[in-house]
């Protein structure tokens, strides 16, 4: 009897230990980013490719206001409503005090400077594939943007999803930095980088499982809209049968081949991608043609 109890205690301790290790937040340390170039001009391309403004600009912001990353947009989901925080360079309400390593920990590992896990509404499961060079450049660019002293609004998330430590388990199960589609060649690899890493297209276009993890086996095969209204369409080559040229034109203007326009959140995505060089948009189009067709 005493022996059995001892086993249970030992097993429980192992369980706690495993939980502790698995859910431990990962961070990038300063030494890893010490040698990075930090070029704000290159960072602007990263900024538009990563779509930061689509979520972190104030709701309804237009044109130049989209560079003021005061946050505030709400993202309803089955787990609660997330509110995009202020990531302007304000030292108190934004990320003005962040180092390059802080930004890299946030984007690549979903870890805040104080070690807390971020919710995956912030698409670090995609940004995990970004290069440290791009993060360094992006940091330089973000620090050139206007500061805003709008306080960030807390997320509205109920039990058990409000236990941040458990997000470590979510990351362990669902977030990784492996490429999803095997491709070779400079254009396709650039397209893959833009889609799978910075552009985080899969976050909306790929279905999720019951725990909110991306179903990589159905990559870009379309999904219910996270706000519960309508569907995000499949963009695998069997479904999106537009020419590469049509796809690239759509991504820069929002016009479909029939000259209808993008709707929903894609309107914001197009406003970001319109800032990318044409070669990048063509690379995205080429990559989308190389994605496995839907099942």
């Amino acid at each position: 009897m005493y022996k059995a109890l001892r086993y249970i205690v030992i097993l429980a301790l192992i369980g706690v230990g495993v939980f502790w290790v698995v859910t431990r937040p990962a961070q990038v340390d300063a030494a890893q980013v010490a040698q990075l170039s930090t070029d704000a001009a290159r960072g602007e391309t990263v900024f538009w490719a990563a779509g930061c403004a689509a979520c972190h600009a104030a709701p309804g912001a237009e044109d130049e206001e989209r560079r003021v990353l005061s946050g505030g947009m709400a993202f309803p989901s089955p787990f609660g409503t997330f509110h995009a925080p202020n990531i302007s360079p304000d030292p108190d309400h934004g990320i003005g005090g962040w180092s390059v390593a802080d930004l890299a920990s946030a984007m690549l590992h979903g870890t805040a400077p104080d070690g807390a896990h971020y919710y995956p509404a912030f698409p670090y499961a995609s940004y995990a594939r970004a290069t440290l060079d791009d993060v360094g450049d992006l940091h330089a660019y973000l620090m050139t943007l206007p500061a805003s002293d709008t306080p960030s609004r807390p997320h509205d998330v109920g039990f058990p999803f409000n236990i941040r430590r458990s997000l470590g388990g979510w990351k362990w199960l669902f977030a990784h930095d492996d490429w999803i589609v095997p491709v070779t060649g400079e254009t396709l690899e650039r397209g893959r980088y833009l889609v799978e890493a910075l552009g985080h297209c899969g976050e909306c276009h790929t279905p999720r499982n019951a725990l909110g993890g991306l179903d990589y086996g159905r990559w870009l095969q379309g999904a219910p809209s996270p706000d519960g209204k309508g569907r995000v369409p499949a963009i695998t080559p069997d479904k999106l049968d537009w020419s590469e040229r049509d796809i690239a034109a759509y991504l820069s203007t929002g016009f479909t081949p029939e000259y209808d326009v993008a709707g929903g959140h894609m309107t914001e995505v197009v406003k970001n991608l319109a800032h990318l060089p044409e070669d990048d948009l063509s690379a995205i189009a080429a990559y989308l043609k190389a994605v496995p067709p839907g099942s």
Partner: protein, 159 residues
């Protein structure tokens, strides 16, 4: 007896008038919906030429581009008040008939500002389209985004 007959006639007549009024309302609503959808087709038709040139599918021609862009700017300025009668939203009509969300008519609707944004972007396109392909390409994104902003806010997604 006579009195009852008169009363019945009056009722029937009143009913007939009411039915006719309803039918007229339905026809008026349908005509307005048809008109606004036709107007959208005219936008698409003219943008189609500019978009085709921007994509490199149609050879650039300054006169043709200017004409299409002029049409767009003129279309954007058309008074549309009669296109959007009360009772012609997705709440009132079937999904096949309209995608116009009721928010258009809500207090606080900024559809007027959205329409102005379209006037601005198409006016800029009118000025740019005849000045070479690069100028045309530089102006088309803003046209797309003014279309998209309004559709995002006020059009029912079609899936």
């Amino acid at each position: 007896m006579m009195k009852t007959f008169t009363g019945l006639t009056a009722l029937v007549l009143a009913g007939a008038v009411a039915t006719t009024t309803l039918a007229q309302d339905d026809a008026a609503i349908k005509a307005a919906v048809d008109a606004r959808q036709a107007h959208m087709s005219l936008f698409a038709f003219n943008i189609g030429l500019l978009g085709g040139m921007a994509k490199g599918e149609i050879d650039y021609d300054a006169d043709a581009a200017s004409a299409a862009a002029g049409n767009l700017a003129a279309l954007a300025r058309v008074d549309q008040s009669r296109y959007w009668p009360q009772g012609s939203s997705t709440l009132d009509l079937d999904a096949e008939q309209t995608a116009a969300l009721p928010d258009i008519w809500d207090e606080g609707s900024d559809i007027g500002a959205k329409a102005m944004a379209l006037v601005e972007s198409t006016t800029a396109m009118e000025a740019a389209a005849g000045n070479g392909l690069d100028a045309l390409r530089g102006a088309i994104g803003a046209v797309g985004s003014s279309c998209g902003d309004c559709h995002k806010a006020y059009r029912q997604p079609n899936n």
